[in-house]
C-alpha cells in the first residue's frame, strides 16, 4: 500500500478523487448549494456529453484556429523584427528593455481598444492573440540569434555567403531551438489570452462556451466547460514541451 502511494500517478488520481468526494460531501450535506457547486458525477457526465457534441468541437476549432492565425501573424512579424534588431545591435540595445516592459504589462487590458477598432468580431480576438504572442517571440528570438556561435558565421563568411544565405542556412538553423522557445511561449500566451478574451466579450470558442453556460445558468455544464478548458490548455502546454524537447535533441545533433 505504501509503495503504491509513492507512485506519482496514484497521488494525482487520489487528489482528483478527493476533490470529487469533497464536492459530493459539501453539496449532499447542504453546506453549499448545488446551484453553486455541482455534484461530481453529473459534472463528469456533462463533460462526456460535451465531448460528443459537435457544437463544442466547433468552439474548439474556433479557438485553435484563432490561436494559429494569431501566431502565424506574430511569428511573421516577430521573427522579422528580431532579425532586423539582431543585425542592428544598437537598435536591439535600445528596444529590448521596451519589449521587456511590454512583456510584463497587462496587454489583455487593451481588448476594449480592439473592440472599438474592430468590433465584437474574430478580428479583435486574433489581433489580441497576435499582439500577446509577438513580444515573447521577439525577445526569445533575439536571445537565440545572439547565442549562435561566432564560428558558424565565420565559416559562412569563409564560403563567401551573402547575408541572406548566412541567415537562412546558418543563423536560423543554429538558433532554431531558442527560436522555438519564443514561438512556444507566444503560442501559450496567445491561447491563454484568446480564451480569456472570448470569455470576457462572450464571443468565439472555448472561452465563450464557459461564459455562455454561466449566462444560461447551466452550472454543471459550466464546470464541465472549465474542466475542458483546463485539459485543453494543459495538453497544449505538454505537446509544445515535447516538440521543444525534440527540437533541442535535433539541435544538439
Amino acid at each position: 500500500m505504501s509503495s503504491a502511494l509513492n507512485r506519482p500517478i496514484v497521488v494525482t488520481t487520489l487528489f482528483v478523487i478527493m476533490i470529487g468526494v469533497l464536492m459530493q460531501v459539501v453539496v449532499s450535506t447542504g453546506l453549499v448549494s448545488e446551484l453553486i457547486v455541482p455534484k461530481p458525477v453529473p459534472m463528469v457526465m456533462a463533460l462526456v456529453d460535451m465531448l460528443q457534441d459537435q457544437e463544442v468541437w466547433n468552439f474548439f476549432v474556433i479557438t485553435f484556429a484563432s490561436t494559429l492565425v494569431a501566431n502565424l501573424i506574430a511569428i511573421g512579424f516577430g521573427l522579422s523584427v528580431a532579425l532586423l534588431l539582431h543585425y542592428k545591435q544598437v537598435w536591439a540595445k535600445a528596444t529590448t528593455p521596451i519589449f521587456g516592459a511590454l512583456f510584463a504589462a497587462p496587454m489583455i487590458l487593451l481588448y476594449p481598444i480592439f473592440l472599438v477598432l474592430f468590433g465584437r468580431t474574430q478580428t479583435t480576438i486574433i489581433a489580441m492573440g497576435a499582439l500577446t504572442g509577438f513580444i515573447p517571440i521577439v525577445l526569445n528570438t533575439l536571445v537565440a540569434l545572439d547565442a549562435v556561435p561566432k564560428t558558424f558565421r565565420a565559416v559562412a563568411k569563409s564560403y563567401r555567403c551573402s547575408t541572406w544565405q548566412e541567415i537562412f542556412y546558418v543563423v536560423i538553423p543554429g538558433a532554431a531551438a531558442g527560436m522555438f522557445v519564443g514561438i512556444r511561449l507566444g503560442l501559450i500566451y496567445s491561447l491563454v489570452n484568446i480564451i480569456g478574451i472570448e470569455f470576457l466579450i462572450n464571443f468565439g470558442g472555448l472561452g465563450y462556451l464557459v461564459s455562455h453556460m454561466y449566462d444560461l445558468f447551466e452550472i454543471t455544464k459550466m464546470y464541465a466547460a472549465i474542466i475542458l478548458v483546463i485539459a485543453v490548455s494543459a495538453m497544449f502546454y505538454v505537446t509544445l514541451n515535447l516538440i521543444q524537447a525534440r527540437i533541442n535533441r535535433i539541435s544538439l545533433g
Binding site: 473592440l115 465584437r120 462572450n202 445558468f217
Partner: protein
C-alpha cells in the same frame, strides 16, 4: 439642574436618532444596465426618499446585465435583482434557483431602437433584407425583438451579434454592420446631430407591447422571512414610478445629471418610455415561455403551480 435636563434631553434625542437609524432595514439591490430610464427607478426612489419612508435603506450594485444580476440574488449577495430578462429568469427558476418575481420591470420593448448611418440606403425595415442587422447576443431581448421586426416586415436580414451599445456603434460607423441597436439615452445625441437615423423601434411590433420582457426578482428565502419588507419595497418602487411621470422636470434632470447628458437628450429619451411600459403586472407569460423553450432556457413549459410559486406580485 439645567445641565442635568439638557444632558437627559440630548441623550433622548441621540437615542431616538439611533433607534430610527436602526429601524431602517438594509436592503441590497443588483441592477443590470446602469443609466437607463427604467433601471434608474430605484436611484430616483432613493433620491426622493420613497424607500426611506418605507424604512428601507437601499444599496445599489450595478452589473453588466445578464446572468450576473440574477446570480447576485441567487447566491444571497443581494436581496433583489432588477431588470432581468424574463427568459433567463424562467430558465433559472426551472433549474431550482431560489427566486420569485415581484413585479414586471419592462413590458413591451419601446426603449429598443435600430439605426443606420446617415446616407445609408436603408430607409426602413423593409430595406434590411440581406443587410447585416445587429443585436447584442443570441437569446437576448434585442435578438428576439429584432427577429420580430424582421418577421413583421417580411424581410430576412443577416442577424449579426454585435455586442453592447458601444461596440455596435463602432461597427455601424465603421461600416462593419449596416444596422445597429441601441437604447436611450445612448446615441440620441447622434440622432439629434443627424449622424444616424432611427429606422425601427421595438414598439413597432404590436404583439410585443403586451409581453413583459424584463422582471424584478427577490431571493425566495428572503421573501419567505420578510414578506412585509418585500411589500414595502414594491410599494416604494411603484410610488417612485408615479412620481417620475408626474414630476418629469425633476426626474429628467436627475436622469440627465447621472448620465452626464444634455437635458434635451434626456427629455427625448422619455419619449421611448411610456408609463404603461413600466407597469407592475407581469404580462404575456405564455409567449415568454414559448420563447424560452425555443431559446433553450426552458426544456418544458412551467406548470400552473410553478408559475404561481414563481410570480408573486403583491
Amino acid at each position: 439642574m439645567k445641565k442635568l435636563i439638557l444632558t437627559m434631553c440630548t441623550g433622548v434625542c441621540v437615542t431616538a436618532i439611533s433607534l430610527s437609524a436602526m429601524a431602517m432595514e438594509k436592503v441590497s439591490v443588483a441592477i443590470g444596465q446602469k443609466g437607463l430610464w427604467d433601471t434608474m427607478v430605484t436611484l430616483q426612489g432613493i433620491e426622493q426618499g420613497f424607500f426611506k419612508k418605507e424604512g428601507l435603506d437601499v444599496e445599489v450594485t450595478w452589473t453588466k446585465g445578464g446572468s450576473a444580476t440574477l446570480q447576485a440574488v441567487m447566491t444571497g449577495s443581494t436581496q433583489y435583482a432588477l431588470a432581468n430578462g424574463t427568459l433567463g429568469v424562467l430558465g433559472a427558476y426551472a433549474k431550482g434557483a431560489p427566486i420569485r418575481i415581484v413585479m414586471a420591470e419592462m413590458t413591451g420593448a419601446p426603449d429598443l431602437f435600430w439605426y443606420v448611418k446617415n446616407g445609408s440606403s436603408v430607409k426602413s425595415m423593409k430595406d434590411t433584407g440581406g443587410k447585416t442587422f445587429g443585436f447584442s447576443r443570441p437569446g437576448s431581448s434585442t435578438h428576439l425583438v429584432g427577429l420580430a421586426l424582421a418577421d413583421q416586415a417580411g424581410v430576412s436580414p443577416k442577424m449579426t451579434p454585435s455586442g453592447g451599445i458601444s461596440g455596435t456603434r463602432t461597427q455601424v460607423m465603421s461600416d462593419q454592420i449596416d444596422v445597429g441597436w441601441s437604447v436611450p439615452p445612448f446615441n440620441l445625441d447622434m440622432v439629434a446631430k443627424g449622424d444616424i437615423r432611427i429606422i425601427a423601434r421595438g414598439s413597432d411590433v404590436p404583439s410585443l407591447n403586451s409581453q413583459t420582457i424584463r422582471v424584478n426578482v427577490v431571493n425566495a428565502d428572503y421573501m419567505k422571512a420578510n414578506p412585509e419588507s418585500v411589500n414595502k419595497f414594491v410599494r416604494a418602487y411603484k410610488n417612485t414610478i408615479d412620481w417620475m411621470y408626474s414630476n418629469t422636470d425633476a426626474s429628467v434632470a436627475f436622469y440627465a445629471k447621472f448620465n452626464k447628458i444634455d437635458e434635451a437628450v434626456a427629455r427625448d429619451s422619455l419619449k421611448f418610455y411610456p408609463k404603461s411600459s413600466l407597469g407592475m403586472s407581469v404580462a404575456g407569460i405564455d409567449e415568454s415561455m414559448a420563447q424560452a423553450i425555443k431559446n433553450k432556457n426552458l426544456e418544458v413549459p412551467l406548470s400552473k403551480a410553478q408559475l404561481a410559486e414563481l410570480i408573486q406580485t403583491p
